[in-house]
């Protein structure tokens, strides 16, 4: 195995060149280039994280706006509802008032008309009584010759009329 057979003769040069090349690798690539690439990746990751954060903030802001809009909508709607309700109640009350007033008027007119009718029918009845009493007086005088007083005839006629 040459690796072991040659070790005594070559270890110096092997170690020398290894330290030289690996030293270069460590100093130039490990310490020089690697952190810069790391920095690029970190900067990109940070940028992406920031952008995502900004998007998230904008999203929540939009949600907030929508929520406040919705609340305002709700409020306006309920206000409008209240106004409609109030005006409806007002209109109802006015209509009710007018109706009662009209009812009272009608009732008064009805009562007046009824009393008028009653008065007239009483008057008519009285007329009928006196006329039929006179007729009865005349009929009695003509048939029996007996004189009947006007008061008695009226009384009789009244009783007869009452019985129909």
């Amino acid at each position: 195995m040459p690796q072991i057979d040659q070790i005594a003769a070559t270890y110096g040069s092997q170690i020398f060149w290894l330290l030289l090349t690996f030293g270069f690798t460590f100093l130039v690539i490990g310490l020089g280039m690697f952190p810069k690439i790391q920095g690029t990746v970190d900067a990109r990751d940070k940028r992406i994280a920031d952008d995502l954060e900004a998007a998230r903030t904008a999203n929540s802001k939009a949600d907030e706006l929508e929520e406040s809009y919705r609340v305002k909508m709700e409020k306006d709607r309920s206000e409008a509802q209240a106004v409609v309700e109030a005006s409806k109640a007002k209109a109802n009350a006015a209509a009710e008032k007018r109706k009662t007033k009209a009812n009272a008027d009608i009732a008064a007119k009805l009562a007046a008309a009824e009393s008028d009718i009653k008065a007239r029918s009483d008057e008519a009845l009285k007329e009928i009584e006196s006329v039929s009493a006179e007729v009865a007086q005349d009929m009695v005088a003509k048939i029996s010759g007996a004189k009947v007083t006007k008061a008695a005839a009226l009384k009789e006629t009244k009783a007869a009329l009452k019985h129909g």
Binding site: P2, Q6, T10, G12, S13, L18, I29, V41
Partner: protein, 260 residues
């Protein structure tokens, strides 16, 4: 094993060959070798790959997306295993992961077709050993710097009965000390075994075909079919071993960072 036949040696691929003599340092010849070439190729490839991720655009292109996938993968691993404190170790673990990954994968490239000689850096114990010792040193330094001598309580799990403490302490200490070896050996063995297997099968294809068309059909073609499957498996192993090395390193650092 195949040297007696004088044809195909599956171990030849692991030989370190000197390209330039270089200089001497403390008695050791620091030569520029094929191993060094492949380390440089891996790092250059990694550097080019990472440059594609440096456009730093807000909306990434395909290449940038790929690079960010790797960095994010290590980032998540550190976050999951160590927690928020893990971020400061991410550059090291990322370097480790990418270096091993590119070395593994580049060692599998079929550049032999172009006449070049592929070499897997991570199939050498010296290389994986140094990487493991680095990770282990970080664990030790962080552990003792953060918790001082209290770091030794790592070796006594919660709720250990008092008479058991000495034994448990020794067992846990041993398992802790074995970590760098297991870390180094795991990668070294996985890479070596896969490459040997591929080379042995390739040797079958060549030798059987040389022995005659009948042998070529009977042995060569099934071996070649097997090689295709194992190549795919080796690609997976290359990625998984890099992942395992980085994952275990992060777990060990977690021990040092958070004790239990």
């Amino acid at each position: 094993m195949a040297t007696e036949e004088g044809k195909i040696d599956p171990m030849y691929q692991f030989e370190v060959q000197t390209i330039l003599e270089g200089f001497s340092l403390g008695g050791q010849q620091i030569a520029f070798t094929n191993s060094a070439v492949w380390m440089l190729v891996a790092v250059a490839g990694l550097w080019v790959f990472m440059l594609g991720g440096m456009k730093r655009e807000l909306v990434p292109g395909r290449w940038q997306m790929m690079v960010e996938g790797f960095t994010g993968f290590i980032d998540n691993m550190m976050e999951a295993n160590i927690g928020p404190a893990g971020r400061k170790y991410a550059p090291y673990v990322f370097s480790l992961f990418m270096f091993i990954l590119f070395s593994n994968v580049f060692g599998l490239l079929p550049v032999g077709v172009l006449g070049l000689h592929p070499f897997t850096v991570t199939s050498h114990l010296t290389v994986t050993g140094v990487l493991a010792i680095m990770s282990f040193s970080i664990v030790l330094i962080v552990g003792f710097a953060k918790h001082k001598l209290h770091f030794f309580s790592l070796f006594i799990p919660h709720g250990t009965p008092l008479p058991m403490i000495p034994f448990i302490f020794i067992v846990e200490l041993l398992s802790f000390l074995v970590r760098p070896f297991s870390l180094a050996l795991r990668l070294f063995v996985a890479m070596t075994a896969g490459h040997i297997l591929l080379k042995v099968l390739a040797g079958f294809v060549i030798n059987s075909t040389n022995a005659g068309a009948g042998y070529g059909v009977l042995v060569g073609i099934p071996s070649f079919a097997l090689m295709i499957g194992i190549s795919a498996l080796e690609l997976l192993v290359a990625v998984v071993q890099a992942y395992v090395f980085a994952l275990l390193t992060s777990l060990y650092i977690n021990d040092a960072e958070n004790l239990h």
